[in-house]
């Protein structure tokens, strides 16, 4: 029984990680046609450095992800705080409407945005991708920050006010420091959502503004070299680091323990 379970888990892990391992390895193989035997070379990484298209797309991806993280985190945090701490008209409706976008297929969201942006004159391009990504990331931020807020008692802010601090000051001196780990986690989450995003980016990209996933996709269709493996490896490294940072900072209850 134990052996069976262990074999099963091993099989799953191999299934998950072997293709990735092969992808990384082939980025360091000299043959442009992925031929064996393996012969180590950093040739494709050097090539990548002069591939303007891939580099430009990478830069776009990182830039869009960073701006998305900042904007979505600010807006999402404000929404989460309002939802958990303030009373206002339409609060329940807003709470209900904020989360379903997570469950809506990106294909549908992407199509809807394309049509809507065309129709309103926003059009396509860097700015359109950015708006799209921010919209996609906000619900995740609300979810992560909202969960963090439930671990911070509302009477802490009341105590601060009773001591003479106006509400905004009470928020910045008491709630925000306690919420910082959740906010940081949410920002990483938003960054990752944007960096991984393909469908919406693909619909909204224009020649100069395409992101890395879009560029990789079109490269694959045209015939490609292990440069793609190199860029994927770099992207993977970035994503994994973000994931590790996230699990480090956004542990449940981290906001209470971290003092």
């Amino acid at each position: 029984m134990k052996l069976a379970a262990r074999t099963y888990i091993l099989a799953v892990l191999i299934f998950l990680y072997l293709p990735i391992a092969v992808l990384i390895a082939m980025g360091f193989n000299e043959s442009p046609l992925y031929q064996l035997p393996f012969s180590f070379s950093s040739h494709w990484y050097v090539e990548l450095m002069s591939n303007r298209k891939l580099l430009n797309a990478s830069w776009n991806s990182v830039l869009i992800a960073a701006i998305t993280a900042v904007i979505a985190t600010v807006l999402g945090t404000l929404a989460a705080v309002a939802l958990s701490r303030r009373q206002f008209f339409g609060k329940e409706a807003l709470r209900l409407l904020l989360l379903p976008p997570i469950a809506i297929p990106w294909l549908i969201t992407g199509t809807a945005m394309l049509v809507f942006f065309y129709w309103t004159g926003i059009g396509r391009g860097f700015h359109a991708i950015l708006i799209g990504h921010v919209a996609l990331a906000i619900p995740y931020v609300v979810l992560v920050v909202g969960t963090g807020l439930t671990t911070i008692r509302a009477d802490l802010e009341e105590a601060a006010m009773s001591l003479g601090a106006p509400p905004v000051k009470a928020f910045f001196r008491v709630t925000l420091p306690l919420l910082a780990p959740s906010i940081f986690g949410a920002a990483l989450f938003a960054f990752a959502v944007s960096l991984d995003q393909f469908v919406v980016s693909y619909f909204l990209a224009t020649p100069g503004s395409s992101t890395l996933p879009v560029e990789i996709y079109s490269a694959i269709r045209k015939g490609f070299t292990p440069e793609i493996n190199a860029v994927c490896t770099i992207l993977l490294l970035g994503s994994v680091s973000i994931f590790l940072l996230f699990t480090l900072f956004a542990k449940p209850g981290a906001s209470r323990d971290r003092s």
Binding site: L156, E158, S162, G164, P167, L178
Partner: protein, 355 residues
């Protein structure tokens, strides 16, 4: 150090009237308890005085200042929360210094004030600790130090001791009283524990379903409850319901009970209250005590022994009596013993509301 007044306060949530027509004076430097069962509106009244809740009607004045429309942070209050509400990311000293910083007191003067406040609650050496490194009782004392260090006009406490175990709670009661006396702060203390209220307070205000049914010194509210609710909430009570006849109250079973208090006209229905510890229980042959002119004969139907005291239940002509007696006699009375009950008309109090 200022008097606090609430005048004609009312508050409803939707259709539920939580407070109605509350008018009370909290004298300068006094310790007043708001006492009542859960849901009677104590917290709401305290939060109206604090400024967290705006009343539908009525006024709140602190000293000469009408603060009804003044927000919490501009009222100069000190508040202690049931959950302590210490800032977990700040040291004990920073917690206490928070209110001073809001008033522009910083640096060395702030440090001195913080130290003085922490000394006052016997936590002088704990300034650098984080709240979670302290015990519950210590956290509560930090909360108290934080609330009083700013010299607020009024100190408000919402069931601050209810999370502590019994012994710690009694220690904290003594501490709280000492600190209140030393600081001279006008203090309003919410509790549902009648013993705590009687022990600590200059005045006790009894709340029942959003109304103050009685307010007065502990002895006054305990000895002379005005309503059945007040009598029952402050402890056990024997009630006798009858009609006035020639300056006494005649019960249906023929008993005639005297009271030292004025009674309504002949024939009026009236309910009398007598505390169980005011009644002397003796065997039939014992000599009567002076002054205990209310006397009835009965038999013990239950006897409960609890070490220092005894609780007897006595039946006298169909009327049940509950009696607390000190454990002084050679032999506690037992079920079936024939006894004489006697008590003073001074301890026989007519209550106002309908029987």
């Amino acid at each position: 150090m200022t008097a606090v007044d609430v005048t004609a306060i009312a508050k409803s949530y939707g259709k539920v009237e939580v407070l109605s027509d509350i008018t009370t004076h909290f004298p300068e430097g006094s310790f007043t308890s708001l006492l009542g069962p859960s849901g009677s509106g104590k917290t709401t009244l305290l939060r109206i005085i604090a400024g967290f809740v705006i009343p539908d009607t009525g006024r709140v004045t602190i000293g000469e200042r009408d603060v009804t429309r003044v927000p919490v942070w501009a009222r100069n209050i000190g508040m202690v929360f049931q959950s302590y509400a210490l800032f977990p990311h700040m040291s004990v000293a920073d917690n206490v210094a928070f209110g001073l910083a809001q008033r522009g007191v910083k640096g060395e003067p702030a440090r001195r004030e913080v130290q003085r406040a922490l000394d006052m609650v016997h936590l002088g050496g704990f300034g650098t600790r984080k709240p979670k490194q302290l015990s519950g009782g210590q956290q509560q004392r930090v909360a108290l130090a934080r609330a009083i260090v700013t010299r607020p006009s009024v100190l408000l406490l919402d069931e601050p001791l209810s999370a502590l175990d019994r012994r710690l709670r009694q220690e904290m009661q003594v501490e709280l009283l000492r600190i209140q006396r030393e600081s001279g702060l006008t203090t309003i203390f919410v509790t549902h524990d009648q013993e705590e209220a009687l022990t600590l307070s200059d005045k006790v205000a009894i709340l029942d379903r959003g109304r103050i049914v009685q307010i007065g010194a502990p002895t006054e509210v305990y000895e002379r409850p005005r309503t059945r609710f007040a009598a029952e909430f402050l402890g056990d009570t024997n009630f006798f319901t009858g009609t006035v006849a020639d300056g006494r109250v005649s019960l249906r079973n023929g008993m005639r009970i005297a009271t030292a208090s004025p009674l309504p006209a002949n024939g009026a229905p009236v309910t009398l209250a007598v505390r169980p510890e005011k009644i002397t229980v003796a065997t039939r042959d014992a000599a009567p005590e002076d002054g205990l002119t209310n006397r009835v004969e009965g038999a013990i139907i239950a006897s409960l022994y609890s070490g220092t005291a005894l609780t007897y239940e006595v039946d006298a002509a169909g009327q049940r009596f509950k009696i607390f007696a000190q454990n002084r006699d050679a032999r506690p009375l037992a079920r079936g013993d024939e006894v004489t009950l006697s008590w003073s008309p001074d301890h026989t109090v007519p209550i106002e509301d309908a029987p």
